[in-house]
């Protein structure tokens, strides 16, 4: 075997055929049907949305440094927190993991060439873009001040582009539905031979569960915002007490989507953590089936608990109690996941690199987020804490400490695969530390604020609360710096990063079997399907600074080296 010429030929071919450079020009990206390119475009899109909403968050924290109007008036403050919430929810968190990372990973993890409906996938991306433009244009034009929840009758009477914004949400909803639909079909029909349901990577289980929610819940959001738009345009009176409609019914409609949407946000993050914990502990996942089933359980239970957003809204007592009981059922699968992740590290070989540190931060923060949910699920304490900063802190611990930190961990984990470049470990760890410290400093004081009675969405507040607000604001700026460092790390890696080996972390899922970045057709030869968490045949190679299979798990598959290109 003449290793050197074959290797260089292979390297050249990889260089030529990798999906980033295979075809060039703006249109080759804008009209691409390649799931990897669409995933990358999503990544850039959601990161821009996050950047925008993050700046708004810092503006809010700056304003809240003093109890009175610091530099914004009330109206501006209301518009800015609405924008912050709406952009974060609809443009960042919901599409972040499924649409950006999911698009890139789902087909590769399945050893497939693409998602089932590539054109629908591109359509979904453009729906997201147009929805985003529509939404942002509407909100920046006159300023929307309804809060991201559009509660009636405020949203039916306030001045502002409510109709345009709801149509933006409607379009974004369709984008989300199509992504979910695509993933369900892809995972159902395009698994390779040998990959049964319980040989799937847990990220795919999480994505599958997420997609179920997207398909089932998002249409209800669609009809809700459509009825809200009709309410404003034609006064149909379904939600408007002016015509004997019922605002509490609006809240039922809204939360029937928006509570499951919370699981659209967190489940993919949990899927990422399942992968990260196993790969970076170099240890087979503990309790695979429990984690897989708990994803589905969370998705289904998630539909039963929407009423816990409405404990003080004027729901009837009987409904309130039922919803409280159901709410606690959803806490169990989440707890199971956390315990299984911890047990995965037991007797493993834990590599404390950037993605792993993010994963460990996730467990720390998500545990706080989850446990504080107990206060809010319990009826008597929720009566006091509802709509206070306690709730604000709780959902930021889940959404930011959970989803965002998981997302960052996932981005760092798969960054070498997506771009073919390694990033600076040192600065990656620094960013993680800053994010962790800044985040806790921002939101821990808010629990105390909430239990002392500080209501949310207040532009001005009573002076007793100032100290804690100032601490929180300082934390927010540290968090902001941490995120900028993270951005710097990935941008630096694009320019100066060392070339990534196919398998830098020693992962056993299929995406690590193709080159980094993958060729446009993903796999030159059909990948070997094996247990996604079996690390025994992997061996670290110092020369490549990556991992390789030393003895193929099955005898009938060809050698590790892919066949030369067939043209």
């Amino acid at each position: 075997m003449s290793a050197v010429p074959a290797d260089s030929a292979r390297a050249q071919q990889e260089e030529r055929e990798n999906f980033l450079v295979f075809s060039k020009g703006f249109l080759s990206w804008a009209l691409t049907l390649d799931h990897k390119r669409i995933g990358l475009m999503y990544l850039i899109g959601v990161m821009s949305a996050f950047f925008l909403a993050g700046i708004l968050a810092l503006l809010i924290r700056l304003e809240l440094m003093t109890p009175t109007n610091t530099y914004m008036n009330n109206q501006t403050y209301n518009q800015i927190f609405t924008l912050h919430g709406a952009i974060m929810v609809f443009l960042f968190i919901i599409p972040s993991v499924p649409a950006a990372l999911g698009n890139f990973l789902v087909p590769i993890m399945l050893g497939a060439k693409d998602v089932a409906f590539p054109r629908l996938n591109l359509c979904s991306f453009y729906l997201w873009v147009s929805g985003a433009i529509f939404f942002l244009a509407a909100m920046f034009y006159t300023g929307l001040d309804t809060g991201w929840t559009f509660y009636t009758p405020y949203s039916t009477t306030t001045q502002g582009p409510v109709v345009a914004a709801t149509l933006g949400v409607f379009i974004l909803g369709f984008s989300s539905i199509f992504t979910g639909l695509n993933f369900i079909v892809t995972i159902n029909t395009m698994r390779p031979p040998g990959m049964s349901w319980f040989k799937m990577p847990l990220f795919l289980w999480a994505t599958y569960a997420t997609s179920i929610i997207q398909v089932l819940a998002t249409p209800v959001l669609g009809i809700t915002v459509l009825l809200l738009a009709a309410e404003r345009l034609m006064h149909i009176g379904i939600f408007d007490p002016e015509y004997n409609g019922d605002p509490v019914t609006y809240q039922h409609f809204f939360w029937f989507y928006s509570h499951p949407a919370v699981y659209i946000m967190i489940l993919p993050g949990m899927g990422i953590i399942s992968e990260l914990m196993s790969v970076h502990s170099h240890k087979s996942i503990f309790g695979y089936r429990f984690i897989a089933y708990s994803s589905i359980a969370i998705a289904l239970f998630g539909f039963l608990v929407w009423g816990h957003h409405m404990f003080t809204s004027g729901m009837a007592d009987v409904t309130t109690i039922i919803f409280s009981a159901l709410t606690f059922t959803v806490s169990i699968p989440s707890a199971i996941k956390v315990f299984n992740w911890l047990a995965t590290m037991y007797k493993g070989t834990v590599q404390l690199n950037t993605p792993m540190l993010y994963a460990l931060s996730f467990i720390f923060l998500f545990t706080i987020g989850g446990l504080t949910g107990l206060w809010l699920g319990a009826l008597s304490t929720d009566r006091v804490l509802h709509d206070t900063y306690f709730v604000v802190a709780h959902f930021h611990y889940v959404m930011v400490g959970g989803t965002l930190v998981g997302f960052l961990g996932g981005v760092f984990h798969w960054w070498p695969k997506m771009t073919g470049k390694m990033f600076s470990e040192l600065w990656g760890k620094v960013s993680c530390a800053l994010v962790f410290i800044g985040f806790n400093l921002t939101f821990l004081p808010q629990f105390v604020l909430g239990s002392r009675g500080m209501p949310r969405r207040y532009a001005q507040y009573v002076p007793e609360f100032q100290e804690l607000h100032v601490i929180s604001s300082i934390g927010a700026f540290i968090l902001g710096i941490g995120l900028f460092v993270a951005l710097g790390v990935v941008i630096h890696s694009l320019m100066r990063g060392r070339k990534a080996p196919p398998n830098p972390w020693g992962g056993a899922t299929l995406e690590w079997q193709c080159s980094s970045p993958p060729p446009y057709y993903n796999f030159a030869t059909p990948p070997r399907v094996n247990d996604p968490y079996d690390y025994t045949p992997l061996e670290y190679r110092d020369a490549e600074r990556g991992w390789e299979y030393v003895h193929p798990p099955t005898t009938d598959t060809p050698a590790t080296e892919p066949e030369p290109a067939r043209t």
Binding site: G111, A112, N188, T189, M190, R191, P192, P193, M195, L216, V220, G237, P241, E242, Y243, N244, D246, V248, T249, H252, F253, F256, F303, L304, G307, G314, M315, A316, D317, V318, T319, P526
Partner: protein, 130 residues
């Protein structure tokens, strides 16, 4: 990827082989259509009687029979993969959850609702048609 993962494929009935296609026989299509028309006439007819609460039940019962005919035959669910049927039917569980909880709650708090008189100003509206 020599073959695909979901390999179980429902059997092709009636021995007609057109690849994986399953053409419906014409008599079945016509029979289903006439059954639907008859049921429509029936439901219009039963609506002429005042049956009180039974009217709702009966109308919805007939509508459900019609819907089942459409789903089973026109939509080929009878000959489709069971997974598709499960997916479609399970959506109704979620619809029931949604409607059930919302209705239950709204009825439970109705005693606290105060209805107001809504002005319906006929004389104030200028009809676009005039």
């Amino acid at each position: 990827m020599a073959d695909h993962a979901v390999s179980s494929h429902s059997s092709h009935s009636e021995g007609e082989h057109h690849g994986f296609a399953h053409p419906m026989p014409v008599w079945q299509l016509l029979a289903v259509f006439f059954a639907l028309i008859v049921l429509t006439i029936l439901t219009v007819y039963q609506a002429t009687f005042d049956l009180g609460n039974m009217e709702l039940v009966l109308s919805l019962f007939i509508a459900t029979i019609k819907a089942s005919l459409v789903v089973l035959f026109f939509m080929h669910m009878l000959y489709d993969k069971p997974l598709n049927a499960i997916i479609f039917l399970s959506s109704f569980i979620f619809v029931a959850l949604f409607i059930g909880f919302t209705l239950m709650d709204a009825h439970a708090y109705q005693d606290s609702v105060e209805l107001k008189q809504v002005d319906s100003p006929r004389s104030e509206v200028v009809m676009p048609g005039e």
